[in-house]
Amino acid sequence: MRIAKDLVAASSTPLVLGILAEEESYGYAILKEISERSGGRLEWTEGLLYPLLHRLERTGYIESTWRTPEGGRRRKYYAITDEGRRELAEQRRQWAAVSEALQDIWKATRSATPIAAPVLEG
């Protein structure tokens, strides 16, 4: 199943902020995590991830530092800021509202046309 582009774009910010809210991370690890969390259904491209990270950094939701782990290469780590946490909370509220509304409607629709049920998968 492929998730529509609009939906990927809309969910990208809360996903990144959510992952970084757990702990700081770097690009490749974030990408892998998103793939794992979505069971492989959300496959982000680098062209989506890095510009997004840079935008979030510019708006002040996350901050980055270049660090060189021992015996490793220089790597850019991202961490969420307080402002980012506030934004994440706000996005959560909004997504909860959307999701609740959808659940309600799905329920109503299912009772009317049960054929639509497979859409709910995942």
Binding site: K32, T45, E46
Partner: protein
């Protein structure tokens, strides 16, 4: 070991490829490289060979075009290359950049102080106007020569040559007792900056002044420098206007400050600043001079052709007064400039096309006009004898004429495919010392030759 170095080589190539993209900068590529390496390591763990893993990792990253487009969308500011004073603190070249900046500021400050220094010995702008006219070239260009001397880290020998030429310029400008309103003093004031500008070229080339490529670089530099200088001068004009207006509004007269400090100090400092800008921008933005050349070559060619047609139809002779001589000299200089800057930006491998024909037409029509002018000047000289002004104008006309005539000849051969384009470039760079010799001759030899007239 070999596999590892191979991988490093491939990654290095990939980096170079990414870095050429607009909108992607050094740190982005660092970040993406880390990403690429992460993925290669993961893929290698699943049993792939490193080169296979590299291929797949690059493929997964998606097309470079798409990737850089996404970056450019987020960082649209990067498409407008930013330059001055916004050094990236991560960049390893930052200390070098700061050093350059310091040298520039130092030389600019020195220039500003230098032009006010004679005041300590009682030489004000009003009282000793002719002193400043004679030495303007020195005041403006000595700091620039110093700047390039420091930037290029020139050898002691070159330093000695540069210093010697500066001293020679100072002597040439001041040793002859010329009247403030003599022709020679005006000529000297015009030609000393020209002579010194070519000394700037020596410093610019860092001593490698025999190299044709360094000379071409200096020609490119000259065009860009001129454009930046004009831009700075326009900014300076606005600043001056506001300074004048605002101070007048609060009842203070800023005229002395503006004419004695702001304009002279600003102008000489701008000479250095413009040079620094050209150096710093060199690899950052497209050169402007070739672009202007493209726009104006056809227009100038048309204008000159129209003049020739008009002369042929009306059979009016060219009126060779002094102003006219200067005008025609300038015309040749402009045509030469148009030729030079289109050469400087030309891809040598490119085939000759319409633009080359246009350039040839431009050169030929300039030559035809110049022949008419030369005939007129010679007529006047045989009638009235040599004066410094006429001799200088005649000499310059001849020098430019020879250059353009040979250029036209080479152009014909090139367009017909008999010669390679580099011959023309070679000719122009080889010709530079002729200008230098002439400018020095006018400064040093003309005054005694014409009995300080």
């Amino acid at each position: 070991m070999t596999a590892e170095t191979e991988l490093e080589g491939q990654i290095g190539e990939w980096r170079g490829y990414m870095l050429r993209r607009k909108g992607v900068d050094q740190t982005d590529v660092d970040e993406l490289e880390d990403h690429l390496r992460g993925r290669i390591a993961d893929l290698a763990e699943t049993g792939l060979r490193e080169d296979e893993a590299f291929l797949i990792a690059v493929k997964r990253m998606g097309s470079v075009d798409e990737l850089s487009r996404e970056f450019a969308r987020e960082h649209s500011d990067r498409l407008w290359k930013q330059l001055v004073l916004t050094g990236d603190p991560d960049a390893p070249a930052d200390t070098a950049k700061r050093r350059e900046l310091l040298i520039m500021l130092g030389c600019a400050a020195l220039a500003a102080v230098g032009i006010k220094l004679p005041l300590m010995f009682g030489a004000g702008f009003d009282g000793d106007a002719s002193f400043y006219a004679r030495n303007a070239g020195l005041f403006a260009l000595a700091p620039l020569i110093l700047y390039f001397g420091l930037r290029r880290g020139v050898s002691p020998r070159t330093t000695a040559v540069l210093a010697g030429l500066l001293v020679l310029g100072a002597v040439g400008a001041n040793v002859y007792r010329l009247d403030g309103d003599s022709q020679s003093i005006v000529l000297s004031a015009i030609h000393l900056p020209l002579a010194l500008w070519l000394v700037v070229g020596l410093a610019y080339a860092g001593g490698e002044w025999r190299s044709g490529q360094r000379r071409m670089d200096f020609i490119r530099f000259t065009g860009e420098w001129f454009i930046y200088f004009v831009l700075i001068a326009m900014g300076g004009g606005v600043l001056t206007g506001f300074t004048a207006g605002v101070f007048t509004a609060i009842g203070l007269d800023p005229e002395t400050f503006i004419s004695e400090w702001l304009i002279p100090c600003g102008a000489v400092a701008a000479v250095v600043v413009a040079a620094w800008l050209v150096e710093a921008k060199q690899s950052v933005i497209e050169n402007m001079a070739p672009v202007l050349t493209r726009v104006f070559t056809p227009l100038f060619a048309l204008t000159l052709a129209a003049v020739l047609v008009a002369i042929a139809v009306t059979t009016n002779a060219i009126d060779v007064e002094r102003d006219m001589l200067i005008l025609f000299d300038l015309l040749l200089v402009v045509v030469l400039g148009l030729v030079l800057y289109s050469i400087s930006a030309r891809d040598h491998a490119a085939r000759t096309g319409l633009f080359d024909w246009m350039q040839l037409a431009l050169v030929v029509s300039a030559l035809l006009i110049d022949i008419l002018v030369l005939v007129a000047i010679t007529g006047r000289i045989t009638e009235w004898g040599f004066t410094p002004n006429k001799s200088a104008a005649l000499g310059e006309n001849l020098i430019l004429f020879v250059n353009l005539a040979w250029t036209a000849w080479l152009y014909v051969s090139i367009i017909r495919g008999r010669k390679r384009f580099s011959v023309l470039e070679r000719w122009q760079t080889d010709y530079l010392p002729v200008y230098a010799a002439w400018a020095w001759a006018v400064v040093l030899v003309f005054p005694p030759l014409f009995a300080f007239a």
